[in-house]
Amino acid sequence: MRLYTLPAWRLRWELVEGGGDPASYVEQVYERIRLFEKTLNSYITLRSMEEVVEEVEQQVREARRGAYKPLAGVLLAVKDNIAVEGLPNTCASRMLSKYIPPYTATVVERLVEAGAVVIGKTNMDEFAMGSTGETSAYGPTRNPWSINRVPGGSSSGTAAAVAAALATIGLGNDTGGSIRLPAAWTGLYGLKSTYGLVSRYGLVSYAESLEQIGPMTRNIMDLAVMMEAMAGFDPRDSTSLDYTPSRGVYTAAVERGEEGARLSVALLEDMVEHEAVSEDVRRVVYRAAEALEEMGAKVSREKVGRHVAYYALPAYYVIAMCEASSNLARYDNIRYGYREPPRPWEGWNTYYSRVRGEGFGREVKRRIMLGSWMLSAGYKDQYYVRALRLRRMVRDRLLSLAERYDVLLLPSAVTMPPRLGEAITDPVKLYMLDTVSVQANLSGLPALTVPAGKVRSIPLGVQLMARPLGEPRLFTAASMIATATGLHDLIAEPVG
């Protein structure tokens, strides 16, 4: 049986109740890694198969004995900016190339508790700064659906690994679209949850007020199962919401969607018709609107206005860069880093400048330089504070729409994935890829990417957004689209 093709919820059943062989599942996945990883470059660290087999068997044994393990034995790919004790945590940066965390992120702890087994740490844009996966110090990841194209970033490795079934489920993080954009370009479901619903403890900070860890899967039910395991209050994260979803709340929402539901949906017209959005993308969004209507939804058209559609993007970049400049100040190689010790008599400013100059890549340097500058006296009000005022306006506008509708529908990517090297040369071109993603991060609203069409055999996802803690609505709507289009459990077979 081709166990690697199964969604996690089916796989668990096969392994725990159906007599499926855990070792053969792991072997199948490692076989695909052997076949495709050289091309894709999706992992930075891959664990040994023996170790992984042992843990998968252990998890399955415990589940067979009756432990509640909704993800028993399921292989999980973890983005390399999420801490897993004992595994390198490079953030795809030379700066952290020799850093091994002595602790594990809350979310990973919870998923492992639920039965998942970490298979490895995935490639990404350096410190999650990028939208194509190409700023990685470990080389770019390729899109398994079309290997001359990027998979999207910054969660590029997780996207490629899950899409090509080099893992069954994955974790990414989303600061300005880093889960949703690669999910949209690799045929995956991806969720950036309500800000504070998922603990950030153990996620290497880029821009904390914007980001969330989130699941990436080939099946909407898997996304729900993962969220039920990982979401909820964490006393170690002060931005964590005082809310823990009850067991079954998301999976039930998925099941409701399979039947169809009378959701009210707002199609965000000026986001779809945005000048940056390509014709291919528009078609897929309209197709998704039809799919929702077929399943019982009522779709209306709404406009978000210029602040949300145009000014959100520069506001996002100002905030992200300012927070990044602060968060990345700590990388000085003394406590952790790439283990370049100070030379005798080397002064601290000289040392810091040297190791930071050597350790960070171009895009990171640009962002922290600009961020430091935009936070400095004389410019802070003009840039940082102004962006934060705009942020409030964007949030209030989106919140009022989200409160009037069950779900908002908009593109998840503005174009089809660029070819490798195409967008990376011009930073502004790169930033424009986030045109429709950053609004959810600025406002803290949950947003989910769902595959809704294919363009020249590459899948393309659309984006659904809802009010804070409106995740069940997102699951229902995504499930409706999945049911109507049949575009789920897509597995790429990279060729080239």
């Binding site: 999420i82 801490a83 996620l203 821009a207 931005t239 406590r335 952790y336 100070p342 400095s376 006296a377």
Partner: protein
């Protein structure tokens, strides 16, 4: 020419009573531990670790705010202050910039017989950096530095005054008052190494403001300020205007030295910490803290005056350290005699000798019951006032029991002949054989004298005792002779 001096202080107080650090659950009691053993992902600034505020730190800050007559903010909010330095695990410090926990307080000091109000501009909670160690002893001579992050993240309260002080003595008085308040609140033990660190701003009329950073004790603050007044005045005398700058106090050489220019130019790029959303400070919490405030030094001094009849000055000395005031009250309770006598003895005699050991050594060097014994010996007329004063030195320095010492040193001399005669009579009755011996051999007299000394626990005046023993023996001889002759 006497120029006006203006002084403002920034005091960093470690909240040493807290069990854990400000933003993580590491034990804050790091002082006697090997380096880097009180650390965790949060206080080491490991990527991905997140801070969560210690609830008791908030309570402690509120209590200090109220004790300093300040206005408590309606929410707790933290900012990041950015600067690169090896003792900073994140290269930014989490502190409070825009909304300090406390504003507009004041403290009253008594100076030259009048009360003066020193205003407090603000107070903020922040994290302590780590500790740097220089392998060659000083930054200048060390080719590298070493860092211990045990201290990193310990809760600090920064207290900033208005420039309301006009002399180093006022600064000292302010700091002493503050120290006692902190001790009474039980939030900090300022006598612990590094638990109270001061930056002093000082300007002399005609010059710019000079900041002297990181002074380790109240005494050093006074010295550093005196040094600066002399330095700045002598510049002005030469027609040179002291420039605005930051200087460091070098306690070993007792001079201030200019800091590097870069240090004064740093742009801190403050921003609210995205990991720490503001926490509302409910009025009920402030009220609860206010109601649980202990008796503070001013009130306590008033009570000492009222209850024990102490002069104001003595009462103020006693409450200048919580430990001292507690000690005094322990003595008063055990003693039962005149509280003024107890206060005088402690303030005028004991304290003098305690200086070498520090106030913290008070209870361990001198248990209160020993002071009570001295006072009782004095009351009983056993020792003189002069002897009591001498005793103060030995009980502090040698840690001995006053009664035993007095006996050994032969301080106490019972020379009352009537009393001693009775003792001699008893000794003679109890030791007839010794008496017979003594009648024969003059050397055996010593035994009888010794017995008298023993019965009085050494307090008999040995000269008088000997004289009385000999006189009694003479009487016996005389009587014996008459009996023999009559036989």
């Amino acid at each position: 020419m006497k120029r006006r001096t203006v002084i403002g202080l920034e005091i960093h107080v470690q909240l040493t009573a807290l069990k854990t650090k400000l933003f993580c659950s590491c034990s804050a009691d790091y002082r006697h531990s090997p380096p880097n053993t009180h650390v965790c992902p949060v206080c080491l600034g490991l990527p991905g670790a997140l801070p969560v505020v210690n609830k008791e730190a908030l309570r402690a800050a509120i209590s200090v705010c109220l004790a300093l007559n300040g206005r408590v903010a309606d929410r707790l909010r933290f900012d990041r202050k950015h600067y690169f330095y090896p003792d900073m695990p994140k290269n930014y410090q989490i502190t409070q910039y825009l909304e300090p926990i406390c504003r507009e307080g004041y403290l009253e000091i008594e100076y030259n017989g009048r009360t003066k109000k020193i205003r407090i501009r603000r107070m903020n909670l922040e994290e302590d950096p780590g500790r740097l160690v220089y392998p060659a002893g000083s930054p200048l001579h060390s080719p590298y530095s070493l860092v211990d992050y045990n201290r990193a993240g310990v809760a600090l309260l920064e207290i900033v005054t208005e420039p309301d002080m006009e002399s180093p003595e006022e600064a000292r008085l302010f700091l002493e008052k503050l120290r006692s308040i902190l001790e009474h609140l039980g939030v900090s033990d300022p006598s612990l190494e590094g638990a109270m660190r001061v930056d002093a701003n000082i300007s002399v009329e005609g010059g710019e403001r000079v900041e002297v950073k990181n002074i380790g004790s109240i005494h050093e603050v006074e010295r550093a300020l005196m040094y600066e007044i002399v330095r700045q005045n002598s510049l002005l005398d030469k027609g040179v205007k002291p420039k605005r700058e930051t200087r460091h106090w070098d306690p070993a050489h007792r001079v201030t030295i200019p800091a590097r220019v870069k240090e004064t130019e740093e742009d801190y790029r403050y921003m609210p910490d995205p990991n720490l959303p503001p926490v509302r400070i409910p009025a009920e919490l402030v009220k609860a803290v206010a109601e649980s405030l202990p008796e503070l030094p001013d009130k306590r001094a008033e009570r000492f005056v009222r209850e024990y009849g102490l002069p104001r000055k003595t009462a103020r000395v006693l409450v200048s350290r919580k430990l001292l005031a507690d000690f005094y009250e322990d003595v008063v309770k055990m003693y039962g005699g005149d509280p003024r006598r107890a206060a005088n003895y402690i303030v005028n005699d004991l304290l003098n000798w305690l200086k070498d050991y520090g106030i913290k050594a008070l209870y361990s060097r001198v248990p209160p019951e020993r002071v009570v014994k001295v006072l009782k010996l004095l009351d009983e007329g056993v020792i003189s006032i002069r002897q009591a004063k001498e005793l103060a030195e030995v009980i502090v320095k040698k840690g001995v029991d006053p009664e035993e010492y007095v006996k050994k040193a032969g301080y106490v001399k019972i020379s009352d002949e009537e009393y001693l005669s009775r003792i001699v009579e008893e000794v003679f009755k109890e030791h007839p054989k010794a008496v017979r011996d003594a009648l024969e051999k003059p050397k055996a007299v010593n035994f009888l004298v010794g017995m008298v000394m023993a019965k009085t626990r050494g307090r008999a005046d040995p000269v008088v005792a000997r004289r009385l023993v000999l006189r009694r023996l003479e009487e016996l001889r005389a009587r014996g002779a008459s009996q023999t002759s009559s036989r």
